[in-house]
């Protein structure tokens, strides 16, 4: 044999081929490669606002007391169950036992106390500190029970605890989570090649239902053309938030793929600078709202993927009110309103961040505004520039952006927020909402808030961003909707 190395190689290759060929069970795929548009700056969900962090680690690496289900329902996670006192102030969480962090240490009530105290502490770097604002104290009753006392009733406390920013971390490893995340989830970080991919491997010591995958790779491909090619070539198994809606038509026609469309939390709006004349005049803002044909934008910019909205609220939320008719497309009314406001020869700046909903949507809106006599000065900006110039410096008239945080109507109560609304009546509604625990009362207040901003035409509400993604036809268990920024891989498996 040694005299003929080529034959030897051929024989062993043949044997290898047979080994794979004759035992289909071995060939069953145990890994998944997910395409993502943006790379997370770090992997610590308690220390950064970037959606990409949660998109990698939420439910996969880190878990909180509660969690979001794919339909947006609040499910138990590390907390097995909970009791709420009659005054709505004390939440007693019964924790799962036998839970281990990836470094092998045990999870118990002390970790919960540590995590919540750390998030709400003075000088905390948590990006969503408001989630923890109502917590008065966190007390450890016993290793499997923790008592959270609120300073005032908060109907959305369990919802708040499901956010990626509220995950439970261990005191020993919390400081290093940015590069070496240690959580309680079913996957653990195995490799992070900066600029290319993050690889997660199965954590065998997981306490809950075992996951069906060995390995999950998140690959960062921002260019839509490259993403399309990678999907077509089979390099990616799924791209849950596909950046180019125009390609979805082609994926739909291909039996290898399935296009999943669900709703997202992304309210796409034409934001207006409410303090800058003439946009401080509600009539001018109303005129702009009536000048916009939402369906044309959805068809033209998003190739039909999207749901028109008339206020800053997700249509799949039970408390949503459809107010699209109030700001229906009506160019004549728009012109009349502009005349009434005494505005003519109006030229507004329109700053567009990179996503295609903004760049393409912006061109369509510019054309629609031109029809009613408003000229726009379009500037395409990169995200960093958008954050500096529009979000921080408020140096803009109009901009298009999708607000992807769940239930974020509260931003309208902020005085210094970039569109500069901060109406006192609206703030009062939000204050009432924060104190209300009765579901009927909460719904009523949420609807009042939606109507208030629609009546004031704070921004022009365009459409709810569809979560349109492509997955391999054989991949099952991927979230259809995105109740939060996440790619929950815990239930994903390959169909034989």
């Amino acid at each position: 044999m040694t005299k003929n190395p080529i034959a030897a190689t051929a024989v062993s290759l043949l044997a290898l081929g047979l080994a794979f060929g004759v035992t289909p069970a071995m060939a069953a795929k145990m890994d998944v490669t997910i395409g993502m548009q943006l790379e997370p700056p770090n992997l610590d969900p308690t220390g950064g606002a970037a959606a990409a962090i949660d998109e990698v680690v939420y439910a996969n690496v880190f878990e909180g007391l509660t969690r979001f289900g794919s339909d947006g329902a609040i499910l138990p996670a590390l907390a097995e169950s909970w009791e709420i006192s009659d005054d709505g102030l004390v939440y007693t969480f019964k924790l799962h036992t036998g839970v281990k962090f990836h470094d092998g240490s045990d999870f118990n009530a002390d970790d919960v106390k540590f995590s919540l105290d750390r998030a709400r502490a003075e000088g905390s770097t948590n990006a969503q500190k408001a989630l923890f604002a109502d917590i008065a104290s966190v007390d450890v009753v016993d290793p499997a029970t923790v008592k959270v006392t609120l300073s005032k009733p908060n109907g959305s406390f369990l919802f708040n605890m499901a956010w990626g920013d509220a995950v439970i971390v261990a005191p020993e490893t919390a400081a290093d989570n940015a590069a070496k995340p240690v959580g309680t989830g079913p996957f653990t970080l195995t490799e992070w090649v900066k600029g290319d991919r993050v690889e997660l491997g199965r954590y065998d010591g997981y306490w809950g239902t075992p996951v069906k995958l060995d390995k999950v790779t998140f690959k960062f491909i921002s260019d839509p053309t490259a993403a399309f090619a990678a999907m077509m070539a089979g390099d990616l198994d799924a791209y849950p938030a596909f950046p180019a809606p125009e390609n979805l038509v082609q994926f739909e026609a291909d039996p290898r793929f399935k296009v999943i469309t669900g709703s997202s939390e992304g309210e796409t709006i034409l934001a207006m600078n409410n303090k800058k004349p003439p946009l401080d005049n509600v009539k001018v803002r109303e005129a702009i709202a009536h000048a916009i044909d939402r369906q044309a934008i959805i068809d033209g910019a998003m190739f039909g993927y999207g749901t028109p909205i008339g206020t800053h609220f997700a249509p799949h939320n039970p408390a949503y009110v459809d107010l699209t008719a109030q700001s229906a497309y009506d160019p004549e009314k728009s012109k009349a309103l502009l005349a009434e406001a005494g505005v003519s020869d109006l030229t507004l700046s329109l700053k567009l961040p990179p996503p295609s909903y903004a760049r393409r949507g912006g061109e369509i809106i510019a054309a629609q505004l031109r029809e009613v006599g408003i000229n726009t000065d379009i500037t395409n900006v990169e995200w960093a520039q958008w954050l500096d110039d529009v979000f921080k410096a408020k140096n803009f008239d109009l901009t298009i952006v999708s607000h992807t945080e769940p239930m974020d109507i509260g931003i309208y109560a902020r005085d210094d927020y970039y569109f500069q609304y901060g109406d006192p009546d609206f703030k009062a509604i939000m204050a009432d909402l924060a104190n209300a625990t009765d579901p009927a009362k909460r719904t009523e207040l949420m609807q009042a808030a939606q109507k208030k901003i629609a009546d004031d035409y704070v921004n022009a509400y365009l459409f709810q961003l569809a979560r349109a993604g492509v997955i391999s036809a054989k991949l099952k268990g991927i979230w259809l909707n995105s109740p939060t920024q996440a790619n929950d891989m815990t239930g994903v498996y390959w169909e034989e």
């Binding site: 125009e246 082609q250 044309a296 068809d299 393409r360 369509i364 054309a367 395409n380």
Partner: protein, 285 residues
Amino acid sequence: MSTPPADRSFLRMALGHPAFVLGFLLSALFIALALVSFLWTPFDPTKMDIAGKLKGPSLEHWFGTDHFGRDMFSMIMVGARVSIAVAFVAVGIGMIVGVPLGLYAAARRGSLIDEIIMRGNDLVFAFPSLLLAIMITAVFGPGAVNAIIAIGIFNVPVFARLARGAALSLWTRDFVLAARVAGKSRARISAEHILPNIANLLIVQGTIQFSLAILAEAALAYVGLGAQPPLPSWGRMLADAQTLISLAPHMALFPGFAIIVTVLGLNLMGDGLRDLFDPKLRRGR
């Protein structure tokens, strides 16, 4: 021996030069399209019709429609106007600034000012031209005017070098010496004797630079730093087509062809002009 007037002989020779004729016709076609677009386009190039988007070429829409349902042929026509205007003004800036600089440097050959001008040119030349243009538009903001300035700036050293090199060889010629003896100033000699004698070279180089400027404008627009919407631009049409190329290839083909044909036409014309102006080749015919 009777010789026909110089211009008639030039015209006859030009017509006998097939590359020049082809180049001239192609360039003229796009210049004509650009001029006609001021008066008439089949459709309003900014008028969107979302329901009629991504239509292939038809009798109604000769080049089809884009992703917003705009008429591609009308956009190409207006895009020609933008491309040609940007290239024309940019090359104009290069000539108006570069040629006097080069002539001045030649007149003061070897002086400190000559060194400063030419090393300054080297500095601009050392930057990759497109990178320089991106830098300028990034600082001053995107737009057609800034694209013109950016492209104009990297045209300056091209003309300055050409003018200086050509002028230097003329300064040693007898007719220039005669003019100096007659007491003419260096500036007057440069303007009256040197410039007319290097005009041929400048025209040839100008034609080549014109085609390069059209390419540069398209490249800037492609990366979003050229003419801003709603003004159509060939480069941005290509960028828009990028993700749609498998769905609507006509969106990339037509602006792509427009750029290729215009640049090819200008290059052929430039080559032809060089042949026609070159006295050695002229004698050979």
